[in-house]
Symmetry: C2
Subunit: 432 residues, 2 copies
């Protein structure tokens, strides 16, 4: 039986899961695939921590060269995360004639074109199923199973931390800060949760989805982005009264003016499949011109689901499937035709606004006037009762008709500068 030797960079949580599969299931994988896949080296600076998996002597090393310079190792798994040194290590692995498997969305969103060009130049491949939606095999579907379709839209919940926070706020009526603390205690949120809750993580994943499904090349930092950190329990409550739930949606959607890319907490109908994604689950709805709507749900992070995706990439790479897909799709290359990305200012849609206003007569009229001046048309406006009657500040909730992002930006800027506005206006998206 053919044998394929694998080296692993980064022995953290997910690395532990990958080692568990590759070391513990080697016979099962060999029987199922006809290939022996051997994890022969794991490189990490930390040689002593317990990762919950027993590894034979001689496998763990802190010397990168034992992987990079071993000509017998043909696949390198990168689980370091972040950009450097992951980027340099991936380049070095490719240059050393190795195929790469990575779970690193930040790396691909920032350096996709460079890394894929290098891999193509050297006749190597990069597998990255685990970079979006963890164990849910959604990248494979876009790259292969749905390839007869023109993808029309992707709407995705790709960050489990944020979904946990929103669905806890929903089910318990708790405040954002309390739920975040609870999420940290349960291990669903990191000690520093910024990249999750400000939407950066979701935006990087959207950037990868946009390349796969639409050939779009874009700087993730230019994508319109709002995180869950602006959502208040009052928003969750009003969403419910409107028959909606709030989900942090990453959206890529064709329009007549190009590809809409947007990450924003979004009010969606409560009976939609995405609204039913609760807890730390990920969910993704892909609409193709022939297949119609296909919906996926599963664990988007965590040791075992992510390891499942990483190891399926390792097997695909060992069997040669990755090579075929990689060569045919020419991802992040000039040869791949892409849908032009729409200027985020031009994106049109409905919006939910929450303003803190002075509780005085005439304020609602002034707000309405400011919006009307920018052609932002109001579908409904509501001033809910105050929690404390003596509070000098009242909340004002507004649903707009479809409007351009630019018009709304201007109106909100003017509102925020007005004397009758207290605090920053919160803006969420509304989608059906």
């Amino acid at each position: 039986m053919d044998s394929v030797k694998v080296g692993l960079l980064g022995f953290g949580t997910i690395g532990g899961g990958v080692a568990e599969i590759l070391l513990g299931k080697s016979e099962q994988i060999a029987r199922a695939t006809g290939k022996k896949i051997e994890l022969v080296k794991i490189c990490d600076k930390d040689l002593t921590s317990d990762r919950g998996v027993s590894i034979p002597d001689g496998i763990l090393t802190d010397n990168l060269a034992e992987i990079m310079d071993d000509p017998e190792i043909s696949i390198v798994i990168e689980l370091i995360g972040g950009i450097e040194p992951a980027r340099s290590f991936v380049l070095r692995a490719l240059e050393s004639g190795k195929d790469v498997v990575t779970a690193n969305k930040a790396l691909l969103a920032n350096c996709g074109p460079e890394l894929f060009a290098k891999a193509r130049e050297l006749g190597r491949t990069i597998g990255f199923e685990a970079s979006v939606c963890g164990g849910v095999p959604v990248l494979a579907s876009i790259q292969t199973s749905l390839q007869a379709n023109e993808i029309e839209s992707i709407k995705a919940i790709v960050n489990g931390t944020c979904n946990f926070i929103l669905s806890e706020m929903e089910s318990k009526g708790s405040a954002y800060a309390d739920v975040l603390k609870e999420a940290q205690r349960l291990g669903f949120a990191e000690a520093n949760p910024t990249l999750d809750v400000d939407g950066s993580d979701s935006t990087q994943k959207l950037c990868i989805l946009a390349q796969l499904a639409f050939g779009a090349v874009t700087d993730w930092k230019a994508i319109s982005r709002v995180g869950v950190d602006v959502v208040d329990s009052i928003d969750v409550k009003f969403a419910r009264e409107l028959g909606r739930k709030i989900r942090l949606l990453a959206v890529a959607e064709r329009s007549n003016e190009g590809l809409v890319l947007q990450v924003c907490p979004t009010l969606i109908p409560e009976d939609s499949a995405l609204a039913k994604v609760t807890n730390a689950y990920n969910g993704i709805e892909i609409v193709g011109d022939f297949v119609g709507s296909v919906f996926y749900q599963g664990w988007g992070a965590g040791r075992r689901p992510t390891a499942s995706a990483v190891c399926s990439d390792v097997i695909d790479s060992a069997l040669g499937r990755t090579k075929i897909t990689f060569d045919s799709l020419r991802l992040w290359s000039d040869q791949r035709e892409g849908v032009p990305v729409m200027d985020s200012k031009k994106i049109r849609g409905r919006a939910y606004l929450r303003l803190g206003v002075e509780d005085k007569p005439g304020v609602m009229a002034k707000v309405a006037e400011t919006l009307a001046k920018r052609d932002v048309s109001i579908e409904s406006m509501l001033q809910p009762p105050k929690a404390r009657p003596d509070d000098p500040i009242a909340s004002l909730i507004i649903l707009t008709h479809e409007t351009s992002s630019e018009a709304l930006d201007d109106a909100v800027a003017e509102l925020n500068a007005s004397s009758f506005i207290r605090g920053k206006t919160i803006r969420l998206a509304v989608r059906d």
Copy 2:
């Protein structure tokens, strides 16, 4: 650019969709895959009907040899359906050196071992994504993306007709017969719906899933099967009162005594993902030891979704991915280790029973006694008010604790033979 020539057998509804993709999107597919895929011949007895797609002259023929004997055609798509002549045509295509793509679940459930052995012997492949769950790429996931997992269970709604019937009964409170008529009018059910509503279609699909996920080889006719044709609106109503919905589930699940295979209308919790699958959608939940629960939903039938799956197989076959997967998995072969299938009589589970009983004192006690004799333990028993007070027959609804299928069979047989029972006892499954 490499070119691959394709012949299509069967120009019906799905054949029309396939022609629409392969003829209408040939440039898009060529750009996306680097291969030119040409549909050069379509064979059907009917040369005149309009299939809603315009095809160039010289493509449609009623002469099978124009496909089988053309050495330039390397892929044959079989969309005839049923066993013969589909089986003979597939064998002939393989013997003529062609790879096969089929959407035919009946053919695979009945002749899988023969066809796959022949394909292996001749170094050819069979692609069959469209045979289960139509456009939803669930077979590809099991064969590739989830391959690092040991699959623990599959619970699937694989028949859109039955799901449409159940969810209409649920939302409208209508009777089975009325909903079936409506489904036929809307084109969701065939003029002769027997194979759908008696569970045969779902069982054949389960047979394919059981081979893919568990290596199980089984005669689909030996699988425990109940169809939606036994479900009454009273069952839907009581399920709802229990916080449950009824779905026709095809289940494959590891147990200590082997693989449980079962097709049965099943009372499942109303907040489960499968319960939320409405209309003619398909849904499938796969649980793997590492990935956890992954859930898919989409259109399981129909011209366009099924054509999407067929064409993805054609592209996989043209690019060589099918060959790798086919060779490594050795489906339906002796070399593939399988989980032994459990005798359906030994399957244990909870059950929902509906009996028609004489409305006389003492009948409930007699029913309880009959069940107790077979060690069938009752979780709850309920005699709902009769629709017409003068009806001499009352319904009795029973939920049992976990019991073996055999004990329940015996108890139900004895009940059905009892003088106080009117009509046949209906038995559904209950799962959490």
